[in-house]
Amino acid sequence: MTRPFLSVENLVVHFPTPDGIVRATDGLSYSLERGQTLGIVGESGSGKSVSSSAILGLHRGTSARVSGQIWLDGVDLLQLSDEEMRKRRGHDVAMIFQDPLSSLHPYYRVGDQIGEAYRAHHNVSKRAARIRTIEMLARVGIPQPDRRVDDYPHQFSGGMRQRVMIAMALINDPTLLIADEPTTALDVTVQAQILDLLQDLQREFQTALIMITHDLGVIAEVADDVLVMYAGRAVEHGSGRDLLTKPSMPYTWGLIQSIPDVSGPVDKPLRPIPGSPPSLVNPPKGCAFFPRCPYAKLVDGTGDRCANEMPELLPITPGHLKRCHLEDPEVMYEDAPELEVAR
């Protein structure tokens, strides 16, 4: 059986801290093919950024303990030496981050920073790197690239800066691109441009794309496959359509109910998820969502099963998995009939 292009298997990332071990990610598994987009939805503390940083090996050299397997094109990245991983970082797998202003070095010109990414992996002259840089800047839609290549990051607007980050990430034609909240800090119209750009580039280069965001709308537009993370684990996994029309886990359902929308009924009440995300230090046994879940009692009358037993990630229908003891998710939908969830 050939593995998928990217296969994350049982990824565990723990950080030892004075307060105890922070279990940022505890057994995460997913896969992705070339040219496909995986959306990872989660809030702060869900482990979405930590797990993606692990793919790039950014935890090496820190106090973090990483275990599991990350297979990229037949190679387990976690088994590589530091130097072998460094060669792949920025070349086979690249990442773009949320805030392009703080993610670019303020003292160096944009062209130098992009060229640096190229020369880290190719033995070329500065001039050759500059030519390639200008090519990439043009490709990501920056006007007058031959002039702007010598500008500093603060001389660009937010949207342009993010394009610079994308140019820098894609200059080595990576096969996997991880975008960590790439549009959260941007205006809505600029966000649309950047998402379009990412999708264009993905089509052209057949890059596998992991899009991390908390915005369900972005996920719905961009992702083929969606992973919902909560407290370091995947709690629901399926196509964007599945998750939005047949959410099977109370957290996903809670998210959908608590987000206002630009269309649909105006008087839809916002139903927030009560409470707050759990601490990742000494997580309680049982389901991490249990303290906030309104449906725990429906499982066995008392809610004890949810309190004591961590559910497994199991399929409901092929391709749609949930981590929840609740057998029939449809009972949840009765709480918000106006949302007309498919039956």
């Binding site: 981050f97 703080s102 670019l104 070095h105 500093y152």
Partner: protein, 341 residues
Amino acid sequence: MIAFAIRRILVGIAMLLAMVLVVFVLFFAAGNPARDVCGKFCTPDKLKQITQVYGYDQPLTYQFGQFMKGLVIGRDFPVDDKYRAQLEKTHPELVIHCDAPCLGYSQHDSMTVNAEIAKYYPITIQLAIFSFLLWIVFGILFGVLAAVFKGRWLDRIVVGVTLVVYALPTFFVGTFLLQYISIRWKLFPYPRYVSIADGGPIAWITSLFLPALTLALFYMAGYVRITRAFVLESMSEDYIRTAKAKGLPMRVVLFKHGLRAALTPLLSMAGLDFAALLAGAVITESVFNYQGLGLLAVTANKNSDLPILIGLVITAGAAVIVMNIIVDLLYAYVDPRVRLR
């Protein structure tokens, strides 16, 4: 950038003028300068002569005007016109023509303040530069090491040792180096200043080493801590994460990206600390008996030689202002966000 520089320099000149005014007010307006200069064994005749030479009985604005004139075109002593005219005829060699920028005249030493400062300046500046190099190089080096190995034993040792060194007063360190390292344990030749012209480079550096080290240790300890803090802060910035994500080797991430950002505030601080040293290191020079501006200040104070003290204060202030300007310009050159506003 040029406009920025010109603006900065103009402001600097204005600051210099303001400083001179403040110094003047502090020394002349408050006390009785003639009395101060006269000193402990003062006689009415001596007092009168001093007043004539320095013009301390003139209105303050006249004295200030004379002082500024001295700074710009030069002036003559004695200030009292009649007295000077008289002296021109009888003892012309006692009439002093002080060229611009004239900082004053010391009757006690029979030299213009400028000449005195020029005589004592070389040692001060050599000490300043040598100790600056010592503390910058080793301060940054150990600071970077401590930051890179944060939490491990190297870091703990460095932080602990610097704390102790930082707490030691300069006279203690200097005396310790002199008495123990040099005299008792004979680990180092007895420090006696040798100029480069007289003894060649090796002897020169050797003669400066112990006092330079005395001065440097204090700053070195501080800069290790500061470098460590700046590097740690800089390494936690988002752009470091980007640099790592690009696949750059750690060496490049640390020095080209991390240290570079930390160096800027570090060097601007260093510039100002260096400026303070240009005024003379009073304690160190005294301990080692090196004839620098610090020692000059101590001697002038003992002799109540007001003109020298004033001249030293103005020199020190000017050094700080000039260094300030240089540091600002350097900062604007290094940090594009400052100059491309």
